[in-house]
Assembly symmetry: C2
Homo-oligomer: 310 residues x 2
């Protein structure tokens, strides 16, 4: 298997690590996933976790190049890779890869180990935004050629919405939707009306409709979320549906704010989250395309190629 | 002292209890405050806490009438007092006081013990909103005659914004500002950039300015709060200032959403919170008047009078 391998890609986030053994054409030959994100790895030792992860795939006498992305390049990670400012593109990213030295990797010096820099963007008011890891997934989604311009979203704890033009990432914005949802659910009065957090597509759709109907400036949402309590209090919403309603309300509000009505978006996410965003987008008159699975591995290959590592 | 007393007023909330011994003209003759809110009192026994509170003030042979307001009248309280729908006024509230029976109070049957009903309001979309306790403070603020029309705010965990016309409470809306702030500070990544949560007037004002400058639909705030992390990350905001900045951002956003530009508002709150809201309002071109202290006691007196309890 390792005979045809050309690259090891590592998506190393805060709480998880995903690693790929890749053929030069992008075929995933092997993969592994663990909870050794940078929080756990900073305790066990980054070098130790790194060698444990790639060891079975890379022979010392003929080491494979390794490309890593995500929070591993943050101040809390292994080696800090300074942010690259948007607008930017794959060529600029390839030039700014940060080498991890043999003293740190514990590998022979001919082994090339690099970290993809995160991206930054300043809005018109000069307020910065940042991403780490998502840029590699975006590059991977662009690699299939179908989304070289448009709006891409990577939904989640911190959703990232990126605007792409002619293959360049021109701007992006973070929405704290997933983390705000969890904080409201687990640490405010809204959670007390919730009985379970299971799948309830109709209640989710009702939350999206409520978001679509709502107007007002940004602060209005501080009022609107209270409906997740009062509708339940007046028995207009079953307690088993409150969590899905609140999720629909927040995701709907996020999409309304981030995507102009009538726009096309590309969703980069696992199947379940992608289907939630796609159904909310459809309700809001926005057509959504799902990016292929393993965008991050496609991104590692594309960047490694642009950097002539493979 | 008890010779001139005419009423005992009890503001009985979720986590605290405030009781007042009042002269018929509203003078506060004595007061007490405890942590025996309904959460604690439901464990210790409502009747027990009640008698312990009013016991020193009310002689069995000549009991004083008692008027209670707040969560004590909720489903989780002592006796549920159904919501009264807005628009409404003091006369309608006085008619709908709910008597607590001697079997529950443990007092002689000539002792009059009543609970003020909470208020409800349905917006144009039919979504309900509720308050319990704040209606009594609003009635108290109206009793001084200076705010018979206009916008009143009771800031806090759940801020209540009430519109009053000719002494009638015509509508209101809840903003979860205080509780959202606490959840973001203690249970999201934003708290990790915070070093202390002390008073930082300039950082608070900066947050209010940021809120004033921001546009977009309600969901935009899910993005805007992320600036409390990124500004700190780029050292444009000191970590000791992050908490005050986020507070200003949320309170500013709340005021922009709840109060039309150029409006006058009346703030009903303790001195510290009132001063935060007044300074934010001033920055936003809204003139604020502070309601007198002990609005709740003034409300108890006004309602007791309207109900001919005194």
């Amino acid at each position: 298997m390792a005979a045809s391998a050309g690259l090891i890609g590592v998506d190393w986030g805060t709480t998880s690590l995903r690693a790929y053994l890749l053929a030069p054409n992008g075929t995933v030959l092997d993969r592994k996933q663990s909870q050794d994100g940078i929080l756990a790895a900073s305790v066990r030792g980054f070098g130790h976790v790194f060698r444990e992860t790639i060891g079975p795939w890379s022979r010392p006498e003929q080491p494979l190049p390794v490309l890593m992305s995500g929070m591993i390049g943050s101040r809390q990670g292994w080696v800090e890779a300074p942010y690259l400012a948007c607008p930017t593109d794959i060529s600029a990213i390839a030039i700014r890869l940060l080498a991890v030295e043999p003293a740190q990797t514990g590998l022979a010096k001919q082994a090339s180990v690099r970290i993809v820099p995160g991206l930054s963007f300043r809005d018109a008011a000069g307020v910065p935004d940042v991403m780490r890891g998502e840029e590699t997934q975006i590059i991977g989604a662009l690699a299939d050629g179908e989304a070289s311009s448009g709006l891409l979203v990577l939904p989640g704890t911190h959703s990232k919405w990126a605007k792409v033009e002619g293959g360049r990432i021109v701007s992006f914005a973070t929405y704290m939707t997933g983390e705000v949802y969890a904080a409201l659910k687990d640490h405010t009065i809204l959670g007390r009306m919730m009985d379970g957090g299971g799948h309830a597509p109709e209640a989710f759709a009702r939350g999206v409709r409520a978001a679509a109907a709502q107007s007002g400036p940004p602060g209005a949402i501080l009022h609107q979320i209270f409906s997740a309590r009062t509708l339940a209090l007046f028995e207009q919403l079953a307690s088993k549906d409150v969590a899905a309603y609140l999720s629909g309300l927040l995701i709907g509000a996020e999409i309304v704010a981030a995507a102009p009505s009538g726009s096309d978006i590309t969703i980069i996410a696992g199947a379940e989250l992608a289907s939630h965003y796609a159904s909310a987008a459809a309700q809001l008159g926005i057509s959504a395309r799902l990016a292929p699975a393993d965008c991050v591995a496609a991104g590692h290959i594309a960047i490694a190629r642009a950097a002539q590592l493979i």
